[in-house]
């Protein structure tokens, strides 16, 4: 049974046009998903709808039989769904520890938050080393680790990452995906939106192609990587023949 059932979602920003136009997707527990698609397909919007940052105009998001539509982000966080946004949404002038503490903001028990921060430090020792440094002094990769660590303080059931490798050097991106593999091994359901579609699909069990606000295709990542149509349309095919025509 799906842990998260997304059906017929129509959503957009403010009074603007619909970005998602009837998107449906079933997320199975402990599976990792990579959402790919062209710019403007609605990938980030999908994640924002799930975590309550953007309200759905139509359709339903159901988490373990519990409807999430209309709930505030903090209420959705309480259910164990965390979102790591794209724009390095840290608190730049707070220390690393304070950033992690903000990750546990919805938990009232401060000692429990401190315990969980220690767990995060276990996973990202570099964060512990820089504990009292301001977040803005970290490198791009370390900031991404801090963002993931901040979400982990809540011990989420589902973690959603929006372009975690954006702007990172390939070797650093690989480190980030390595740490995501650790999350996967820990049984956390992962939904990642990734511009670097190949890397994302190699990481995830399952792929989903979004275009024009709908899920056009979904299936095991390996089959998507091998599908020539999808390769041509969304993966930027290495044009052996077509290259000569261009």
């Amino acid at each position: 049974m799906a842990i998260l059932d997304i059906s017929g979602i129509v959503a957009g920003y403010g009074a603007g046009p619909d970005i998602l136009k009837g998107l449906s997707l079933a997320i199975e527990p402990e599976r990792s998903y990579c959402v790919i698609g062209p710019n403007g397909a609605g990938k980030s919007t999908l994640l924002k709808v799930i975590c309550g940052l953007v309200p759905a105009r139509e359709g339903a998001v159901v988490f373990e039989g519990d409807r999430l539509n209309g709930l505030r982000t903090d209420e959705i966080l309480h259910r164990g769904i965390c979102f790591v946004p794209q724009d390095r949404s840290l608190f730049p002038d707070m220390t690393i520890r304070e950033n992690l503490r903000m990750g546990g903001y919805i938990l009232k028990d401060r000692r429990e938050v401190d315990r969980r921060i220690e767990e995060v430090y276990g996973m990202f020792p570099i964060l512990k080393e820089r504990n009292s440094q301001l977040a803005k002094t970290l490198s791009g990769g370390q900031q991404q680790m801090l963002l993931i660590g901040r979400a982990l303080v809540l011990r989420p059931r589902i973690i959603m990452l929006d372009e975690p490798s954006l702007g990172l050097a390939p070797i650093v991106s690989r480190q980030i995906f390595d740490s995501m593999n650790t999350l996967k091994a820990a049984g956390i359901t992962i939904i990642v939106v990734e511009q670097n579609a190949r890397m994302g699909l190699q990481f995830a069990d399952w792929g989903c192609v979004l275009d024009l606000g709908k899920a056009m295709f979904e299936g095991p990542s390996a089959s998507i990587l091998e599908d020539p149509r999808i390769e041509e349309l969304y993966l930027g095919r290495r044009r052996s023949r077509a290259g000569a025509d261009a």
């Binding site: 982000t73 966080l77 707070m94």
Partner: protein, 291 residues
């Protein structure tokens, strides 16, 4: 030398009160991005409330702070709910909030002018006319109390922001609104709370303004220009910046007033405003850009 030290003492003591006046303005800007042109009008409103309590109930203006602050907090929450809650949620409408604050300032001024006419008023507690002497120096007693009280309130505010869970949430919202939302901060509630706190701070400073200056309904234009200049100098949204800006500019204005006459004292603030906007628009402690 004695004169120089005396000017610094007077400048710093007034600077403390200006810092308190500006703290609410900078806090509201930091959290909501609203440049509240009505801030000084609310300070004047609080002065009038203090004046009323003094005149009809013989309540000491300093003591009246315990009434004025909560009243202004409630006023702030109501103003936020009625006028700002919807407009700041929509980024496209955020730009017009400055016009809204301008309108609120006019309404407060007009209402006060209608009810109390535009004559000068001030409360006159016993300490308003005496001075504290130490060696060759003096400090008006009223200014002394106002400075101490401003410092206490500002330290309290700082500790609240630094150490409480709500304080963390306020700072987080100031740093990055989206990030705050993502970790579960109810930014709408925080904004409402901060508007209330900002108005409560305006209330406390208004109570002190009532015996430090003569007030009349349109006095707020003079104040808001000064407050904006020192907030811009310190860096919009920075509390420490507002304090530094207030102290630096008040001392500078005291020097200008002493050497060139009081008429030139307000010019100090405007000159500083122009200079800072030309050479360091983010202010002394403001953030340059988000990352």
């Amino acid at each position: 030398m004695t004169q120089t030290v005396q000017i610094i003492i007077l400048g710093l003591s007034l600077g403390g009160v200006f810092a308190l006046m500006a703290s609410g303005l900078t806090l509201i800007f930091g959290v909501m991005g609203i440049i509240n042109l009505a801030h000084a009008a609310f300070i004047i409103l609080a002065s009038f409330i203090t004046f009323g309590l003094f005149k009809y109930f013989a309540l000491d203006p300093i003591l009246s702070i315990v009434i004025v602050m909560p009243v202004m907090f409630i006023v702030g929450v109501a103003v936020y709910r009625i006028f700002f809650a919807r407009s700041i949620a929509d980024p496209n409408k955020r730009g017009v909030t400055v016009l809204l604050t301008f309108a609120i300032a006019l309404v407060i001024e007009g209402t006060l002018g209608f009810l109390f006419s535009n004559i000068y008023r001030s409360t006159s507690p016993s300490y308003a006319s005496s001075a504290i002497l130490f060696g060759p120096y003096y400090l008006p007693e009223a200014q002394f109390y106002a400075t101490i009280l401003s410092a206490v309130i500002l330290i309290g505010l700082w500790a609240f922001l630094q150490y409480t869970r709500t304080g963390y949430a306020i700072r987080a919202t100031m740093h990055n609104r989206t990030a705050a939302e993502v970790v579960g901060v109810n930014v709408d509630r925080i904004s409402m709370l901060v508007f209330g706190i900002g108005m409560a701070l305006a209330g406390a400073s208004g109570a002190m303004v009532s015996f430090l200056f003569s007030v009349y309904p349109s006095k707020h234009w003079e104040f808001v220009a000064i407050l904006l200049s020192l907030v811009v100098l310190g860096g919009m949204g920075s509390l420490l910046g507002a304090l530094v800006g207030a102290l630096v500019l008040s001392v500078a204005a005291a020097f200008v007033s002493s050497y060139y006459g009081p008429v030139w004292s307000p010019v100090t603030f405007y000159l500083a405003l122009f200079t800072i906007l030309l050479f360091r628009p983010q202010g002394l402690m403001g953030k340059k850009a988000e990352f």
